[in-house]
Structures are given as C-alpha cells and as structure tokens.
C-alpha cells in the first residue's frame, strides 16, 4: 500500500478542514474500497432480487455461495499474496521490471490450476444435487476470485489504488446488474451474473498490469524458485487469512448455530449478518490506518534509514527513530479512538439501526461485540504493517499464528458456553494479540538502532 502517501499529502496540503476530510475520505475509499464493494454488492443483490427470484431461498443460497467463494479463494491465495507483493517490490527496486509480468503469469497459472483443481474436485463430489450450470459457475467463480486477489495485490504494488477501486465498482456493478437481469434463471442466474461481473473485473485488471510491464518472456517460474526468506511471508499470508475466517467457519459448521444452505455449504444466520455489518463499521478505522501509516510514519521511516546509510549523526538517527515511534503510536491510538467511537455509536444506536434495517433486535448484543472485534482487527492490521515496514517477519508470523490459534480455541469455548458468549471468542483473541503486538512493537522500537547496526549478518 505504499506510494499513496504522495496522493494523500497532496490532498491534505491546503490544511483546511475540507481537505482533511477529503484526505480521510480518499484514504477510506482506498483502504476499504474493494472489500466494502464486495460486501455491498452481495447485500445489494439480495435486496434487489428478493422479490423476483423463485424460490426466495435462492437469494440466500446465492449470498452464501459467494461468501464461501470469497473465503476459500482468500485462504487459498493467502500464501501468495504477501510474498508475491514482496517479490514484485524487490524486482522493481532492482529495476528489473521485465521479470514481473512473466512471474505474474506463472503465479496466475498456478493459482488457476490449484483453484480449478480444488473447485472441480469439490463440485464433483460435494454438490450431487445441484445443477451442472451452478456447479460450473461455482468452479469458475473460485478460479476468477483467486486470480482477482493476485491481480489486486499486483496493482496495489503498482500503487494503482484508484484504478482498483474503479474496477471493483465496475465489476461489482456489473455483477449486481447482471444478477438482476438473469434473476429469472433463479440461483444459476444470480451466480452467473456475479461471475460475469468478476470476469470483467479480472479482465480489466489484467489489462492494466500488462500495460504497465514490458516483458520479453511470457512466463517465468522464478518466483516459485525464490530462496527461503519468503517462506515466512507465505505462512503469514496463510495464517492471517485463515485466522480471519476461523470463527465464521466454526459458526457455520457447528450444528446448533447453523443451517444447511446448499450442497455442503452452511451458514449461520445469527452470526453472519452482524459480522457483515460490523465490518462495514471499520471504514473510518481503515482510513486512519492508511493515512497515518502512509504519510507521517513513512516519512520518518525513510528519514531514519537514509540517515543510517548516508552518514547522519547518531543524534539525528535517534530523532528520526523517535519520530517513527511517535507516528506509529499516534496511528494505533487514532485507530483505537475512531473505532471506539464507532463501537459506542453502534452500542447506543444499534437497536434503532436494526429496526430500521428490518433485522431482529436479538442480533444487537452480537453486533456490539463484533464491532469491537472488527475494530481490533484494524488495529492488528496497523501493527502488522509497521512490523512489515521494519521487516520483522518473525514477529508478524507469531502474532497471526497466535490470532489463528486463539480464535479457534476461544470460539470453541464460546460455542460451548452458549449464545450469550457468541462473538466474544473473536474479540478476545484479537484483544490479546493486539496487546501482545503493541508490547512487541514497543521493544522493537526501543532497540531499533541496536538491531539495525549490530544484528546484521556478517558477510
């Protein structure tokens, strides 16, 4: 997510309140755009086709199908997202842009084979009662989404954030419209419309990537032959994505809290809706995270390493390190503050909000806890990103692994304890990981110069 700092600073330059709001707005869109659009897209399809589709249940089946597609594709491509970003960043730094596109193609091919293979296996074996069309569309959807995540990561690396948001808007827009148009074909029509939109989205992204990178070769598997230091990023990517979906998956497959929707796919009507709404509430937190990290923190980060390398005095080096600490701290606290406000708003007005959206007020306690949990997820994202900047991959891996394990364990416990405790597993896991992350961050900053200078491998 580097490089948008420049844009943000340009927007906020005037220093007026409007420009500040624009800055945050822009950061919010950039930071949250893609996944908010996908959530809204799915919800919109549901809302708009509720009247026309037969049976009505098909809408739910569609929403659950797409949710599973997103979840599985995210976890599947998790290992590649971070490590591929790193690969591209390194090549661009070395001015070897010609290596990027061939490796991109190789990665897409691999992803296609794996997701296609997995998809085929699953639709052949686990969906005996569904139509061929549905099964084919699901497989296509899995492949498309998997490729889309890679392409998104690619374009983020190229700092084409605006283009990403626009493409997502277009893609999901088409998904919604096409789903509407094909609604008379019931479930297959809805899924087909969705898949069409995704295909357009992917095509658009591929076009942008190819335009950016010249290449002599079509395909190169060098990325997969890379040496060991990307392994940690692969594990982090996998663990982070797995951790996020763990509690949801557990609610889906715990019989008392879930229903069978289609094929083997289950959903948890009491858990899913609050979680979606809670994720919508973190848009401001994401905006803050983007803004703080990509402007002030990055400035001090660059200044610190410049001073180290190019002969600055120790006092100057320390001053910049203190600046990094300050901005990181401010960023984390601002996220906490904003999300606390969002949580308070939801807690106070949640009841009214649910009535207005025609959702049962029984969801309220769950919604409140989820908002806090989702807010903490943004905090964790902020902390992880600082660790990525400082290249402390081991600590990041420990944190996400801990998140995964705690989420699993705590959610299990809350499922045993009963409905009053639902949602607390997710929130508690994140709370512990965030606290641990902040303590680790503290220590890393304290010893930053020592570690920068003294803990280099002697070569």
């Amino acid at each position: 997510m580097a490089g948008i700092g420049f844009e943000l600073r340009r927007i906020m330059q005037k220093g007026t309140l409007t420009s500040l709001l624009s800055g945050y707005g822009y950061a919010g869109i950039i930071g949250s755009g893609p996944w908010v659009l996908s959530i809204l897209g799915i919800l919109l399809v549901g809302l708009l086709t509720a009247a026309t589709v037969i049976p009505n249940f098909a809408v739910t089946q569609f929403q659950v199908s797409v949710t599973y597609l997103i979840a599985v594709s995210l976890v599947l491509t998790g290992p590649l997202q971070l490590s591929f970003t790193r690969f591209v960043a390194d090549r661009m730094f070395e001015k070897r842009n010609d290596l990027v596109l061939p490796n991109f193609h190789a990665t897409l091919l691999t992803v296609t084979w794996v997701s296609g293979g997995l998809g085929l296996l699953v639709v052949l074996t686990l969906f005996p009662d569904e139509s061929v069309a549905y099964r084919l569309l699901m497989m296509a959807g899995l492949v498309l989404l998997s490729n889309i995540w890679i392409a998104t990561v690619m374009l983020s690396g190229l700092k084409q954030h605006r283009e990403i948001v626009v493409l997502y808007a277009v893609g999901y827009g088409i998904s919604v419209l096409a789903a509407l148009a094909l609604a008379r074909f019931n479930l297959e029509g809805l899924v087909g419309g969705f898949v069409l939109g995704q295909a357009v989205l992917l095509a658009g992204m591929l076009g942008l990537v190819v335009r950016e990178f010249p290449a002599a070769r079509f395909m190169s598997f060098e990325f997969f032959r890379r040496d060991q230091h990307f392994r940690s990023l692969m594990w982090i990517g996998l663990a982070y994505n797995a951790a996020i979906w763990t509690d949801k998956a557990m609610f889906w497959f715990w019989p008392p809290t879930s229903q069978l929707i289609i094929g083997p796919l289950r959903a948890s009507l009491i858990y899913d809706l609050p979680i979606f709404l809670a994720y919508l509430s973190i848009i401001p937190g994401m905006a803050v995270f983007m803004l703080r990290l990509e402007t002030d923190f990055v400035d001090y980060y660059d200044a610190f390493f410049d001073a180290v390398r190019s002969g600055g005095s120790l006092r100057l080096i320390e001053r910049y390190r203190n600046g990094m600490v300050e901005t990181a701290r401010m960023g984390v606290f601002e996220i906490i503050k904003i999300q606390a406000i969002a949580a308070l708003l939801v807690i106070i007005s949640g009841g009214t909000l649910l009535v207005w959206l025609d959702i049962s007020p029984l969801y309220l306690p769950l919604l409140q806890v989820m908002v806090i949990g989702a807010g903490l997820q943004v905090v964790l994202l902020g902390i992880l990103n600082v660790f990525f900047y400082l290249d402390r991959r081991r600590i990041a891996l420990i944190l996400v692994a801990l998140f995964f394990v705690l989420n699993l364990v705590f959610t299990t416990i809350t499922l045993q304890l009963g409905p009053l405790w639902y949602g607390y597993g997710f929130a508690a896991a994140l709370l512990i990981v965030c606290v641990g992350g902040l303590l680790a961050l503290d220590r890393v900053f304290e010893r930053l110069e020592y570690e920068t200078f003294m803990l280099q491998r002697n070569a």
Binding site: V308, R309, S310, G311, G312, S313, L314, I317, R447, E449, Y450, E451, F453, M454, L455, Q456, R457, N458, A459
Partner: protein, 521 residues
C-alpha cells in the same frame, strides 16, 4: 591443527624453534624484508623455522616468490580481510558487564599511552568464543553497542555515525581472527615478528598463550609507514562540511587509524623480550614510540660479501679508464622509490655526460599506473635513448656493468642494494632517508674514517641528485676512492656473518629458558 583452510597450510609441523610472524612479506611478497627473512632461515640450518603469513585478501597474492628452504618446516597463511560469512541470523544479547568494564579500562590505558600489557594479558582468554569478549559479543551484544555509541558521542568529531561504526568494526575484527590463529599454531621456542601492527599483536597473543619470548625485528617502522599511507589515502572518509574543515587538521578517521596502529605498536613493544632495529635512528624512534630502551638494540642487515666480491674483478670500464657512465636504480617501480625523481635527474646527467645511461632494474607490475607515468616522463624529457627499464635483474649480472647505484626513495630503512653495490665495488648516490647517510658516509669516528662511498642528497631534488651522479661519474679518482670506501665499510660492519652472530646470540637467549618465563620485565 591449524585454523587455516587445508590448502592454506603449506607445510606442517607440530613444533618449531623459531616461529616467524609475517605481515605482508615472506614468502608471497618480494622485497627487502622478505629477502632478509629468507636469508635468516638459510643462515641457521640447525634451527627449525615456522612461518605464519598474514595477508589482506587471498586475491592479492600469487605463488610463493622464494624457494623455501628445507628448515622452514611449517608455513601457514591467513587472510585478515577475507571473512567467512555467518550462517545464522544473529540473536540479540546483553553481553557480560565485567568483561566490558575491563575492556573499557584497557582502552583508557591506551588513550593515556601507558603500558597496557598486564591488562591485555588478562583479557586475552576472554577473546574465546565462550569468553565475555568473544567475537560475537563484539559484533552483536548490547554492551558493545552501548560502548560504541558512548565513544562516538564523547569523542568523534566526524558527523557520520555509520562511518565511525564501520571503521571501528573493520579495525578490530582481525583481532579475533588472530586469536583463533594463535590458538592453533605449532608450539615454538621463540616468536619472531618482523613488524609491529597486526603481526606484532599476534606475537603478543602468542607470547601470552605459549609463555615463550617475543622477538621483534623492525625493518621499517610500521606505524610510520601506515601514517604515510593514511595521509595519502583517499578511501578514508571525511564527512565534515566545508566550514568545519581546517587545513592541517587531520581528519578524525585517519587519526583514529593512526592511534590504533600506535596502540598495536606499543602493545608489541611492551610484550617483547628483545626489540631490534636496523640502525640507531630507528632505535630512537622505537623508544619514542614507547619501547623500553633497555630492550632495544640495532643489528644492521648484513650481506654475503663473498658472493659479490668476485664482481669487482669482472667490472667493465670505459676505454679511457673511466667508470661506465651508467646510473642504476635497483628497486621496484613504485611511488615510495620515487622513480620519477630519478628519471628527471637523468636529464641533468645526460646534459653533462651525453653518453650516460640511466637504468631502472626492478619489477613494474606492482603499480602499473605509476610505471606508465614514469615512462611518459622519460619520453617527455627526450630520454628514451638514455633511460631504460630493465625489469627484474640478477644482481650478480647487473652490478659489474653499472657505474653508480642510485636510490631516490622517499623512505628506506637499510637498503641491501647499497651494501651489495659496495661489495661489488660500486659507489652509491642516495637520498637522505633511513640509514643511507650512515651507510654512505659512515657513523662514528671509526666508520667515518673509512671515507665516503658516494653522496647523499635531499629527497625529491632531481637537480641535486643528477649533479651528484654526474660528479661521481666524471671524476675517476673520486669514484675509485668511493668504491674502496664502500668495500671497506661493508666488509667491516655489514657482513652477513656479523648479523648472524648477533642473531645467534638473541636466539640462544630466547630459546634456552624453559616455558612460562615470559618476556615482559
């Protein structure tokens, strides 16, 4: 078993009588010091010698330049600037408080130029991998970091921290390498180093580790040579801004290196049983640099006169009985020999003696750029017919043909070429460096009474040099007197036998005492 890689142990023996510590000399670098080492080894066939060669990087050296004698039973080589890279990512750790406190005290002693030998001896065992001052502690511990930053803040006048940090690291890292070397070299009865510097420090480590005496034979003064190098060096960073620099102020990092080498020198002097120089002026210098006068003596180089004496009879002469008008600079074509001044001086010589020739007999491959520049000067002065580059020549073939040996160096100790020339009956015109004056004009009443064997001029003065050469070559009677004076002097004071006798005495004194009688008084 040596810590060197297998192919870096050229000859192996479990124990030797004399272990030479050779920094950048024998047997991989040709030159005066190397030749001297070779001469000594051959001069004591009853003793078993070993050699530890310390070089900079492997790539800088080729094959051995000397035919190694049979009594050199052990030879190993190490390259101080080639580092094995660490495999694992270093782990943070704190470091031992006590060890670092003592290290701090040691540095303070060096700062005040006092004798740090006792403190150093105590700290040497801590250099082990398990000790409090291991290489790992130096490179990665928090206490090391604290010490470096403290010293930077309180002392460094150069603004760049990263340069300070790396200078300190690079400066000190050979120490652990040498400690590892010291733990594995063969047992020796006496340790003999031919310079201070890193080899001298290795000597200090060894004398404490093995409990055997250390003998230092300094040819040039290491610290002085490093100062000259550093003064000219462009690789040492100076990050002061334009307004901070004062002319005459030596940049901080150069000063840091100089003080480091001075400390190495003082450590070696403090730990040595005997300190030998080639001539009295250098002895004075050693004492000024911290050596104990009681342990210092001068033993000049000696040559095998018998090898050169026959050359007097086969000398070539001009038809009219004058000496051959050939001035010969015998030495490597490198800046320290100031070959350019010699070439320029030939302009004066050729003007006065049209058929005079100037020969440069020495290898040109050490500094090719400099050699090329010399040739350009020859061409620009119109001397291409008179000045010739001969490359390496055998002394026994060269000396009968030349009329005068010329040395235009800006720094010398006790050049063997002068003595060899004298033994062959060839006078010498030299710059006034090192012991050249005492060789040519004599030192002390008895020596001076033998007469002048040539002329001594100022450095970098081509006119004076040229005129001195021309004077000598054109006056046959004076030439003859100089030739005889040279013969007399070398036979009386600079024979190989005299040198061997004095070293035999030193070796006997060092080899005899039993173990654990260490040198420091």
């Amino acid at each position: 078993m040596s810590s060197a890689a297998p192919h870096d142990v050229i000859r192996s023996a479990p124990a030797v009588d004399v272990l030479f510590l050779l920094e950048g000399t024998y047997p991989y670098v040709a030159g005066g010091v190397s030749s001297w080492v070779h001469q000594i080894v051959r001069g004591f066939p009853d003793l078993k010698f070993g050699g530890v060669f310390l070089g900079s990087r492997r790539a800088d050296y080729g094959d051995a330049r000397y035919q190694m004698p049979d009594n050199l039973v052990h030879l190993e080589r190490h390259f101080l600037h080639d580092h094995a890279s660490e495999d694992a990512q270093p782990v943070p750790f704190s470091g031992d408080a006590d060890g670092f406190a003592r290290m701090r005290a040691l540095h303070e002693t060096y700062q005040h130029r006092r004798n740090a030998d006792a403190k150093l001896a105590q700290l040497i065992p801590e250099l082990n991998d398990t000790g409090s001052l291991s290489e790992r502690a130096f490179l990665h511990s928090q206490r090391a970091w604290q010490y470096v930053t403290e010293m930077y803040r309180s002392r460094c006048t150069d603004p760049s921290f990263v340069d300070y940090f790396w200078t300190v690291r690079i400066m000190h890292s050979p120490i652990w390498k040498m400690h590892r070397i010291a733990m594995r070299v063969p047992r020796a009865r006496v340790l003999h180093t031919v310079s201070t510097g890193y080899a001298g420090f290795l000597g200090v480590l060894l004398t404490h580790a093995q409990g055997r005496p250390l003998l230092i034979s300094e040819h040039g003064i290491y610290t002085k040579e490093r100062k000259i190098d550093l003064f000219q060096a462009s690789w040492v960073r100076d990050n002061r801004g334009v307004f901070e620099k004062t002319t005459g102020d030596i940049p901080y990092f150069k000063d840091l290196w100089v003080r480091f080498f001075e400390a190495l020198g003082r450590s070696a002097y403090a730990a040595a049983r005997h300190i030998v120089s080639l001539y009295d002026a250098n002895r004075e210098r050693q004492i000024a640099d911290g050596a104990d006068a009681a342990r210092c003596r001068s033993i000049p180089n000696g040559i095998d006169v018998a090898r050169f004496a026959p050359l007097r009879d086969i000398r070539e002469w001009e038809p009219d009985g004058r000496p051959m008008p050939i001035a010969c600079l015998i030495g490597r074509v490198v800046p320290i020999k100031d070959v350019k001044t010699f070439v320029r001086s030939m302009r004066s010589v050729v003007t006065r003696i049209p058929d005079a020739q100037g020969w440069i007999a020495g290898p040109e491959d050490e500094d090719k750029e400099y050699a090329h520049e010399c040739r350009l000067i020859v061409a620009s002065l119109g001397l291409t017919k008179s000045v010739k580059f001969l490359g390496f020549q055998q002394m026994t073939e060269l000396l009968p043909k030349v009329g005068v040996v010329v040395l235009s160096s800006i720094s010398e100790a006790l050049p063997l070429v002068i003595l060899e020339g004298f033994a062959a009956g060839v006078p010498c015109v030299s710059t006034d460096v090192g012991s050249c004056r005492q060789l040519i004009h004599g030192s002390g009443a008895e020596d001076e009474a033998l007469g002048s064997a040539g002329e001594v001029v100022r450095i970098a003065d081509p006119q004076a040099l040229g005129n001195a050469v021309a004077d000598l070559l054109s006056d046959a009677r004076r030439w003859l007197a100089a030739s005889n004076a040279g013969i007399a002097r070398v036979e009386k004071f600079y024979t190989q036998k005299m040198m061997f006798d004095q070293y035999r005495e030193l070796y006997d004194d060092c080899i005899a005492p039993p173990d654990a009688e260490v040198s420091a008084a």
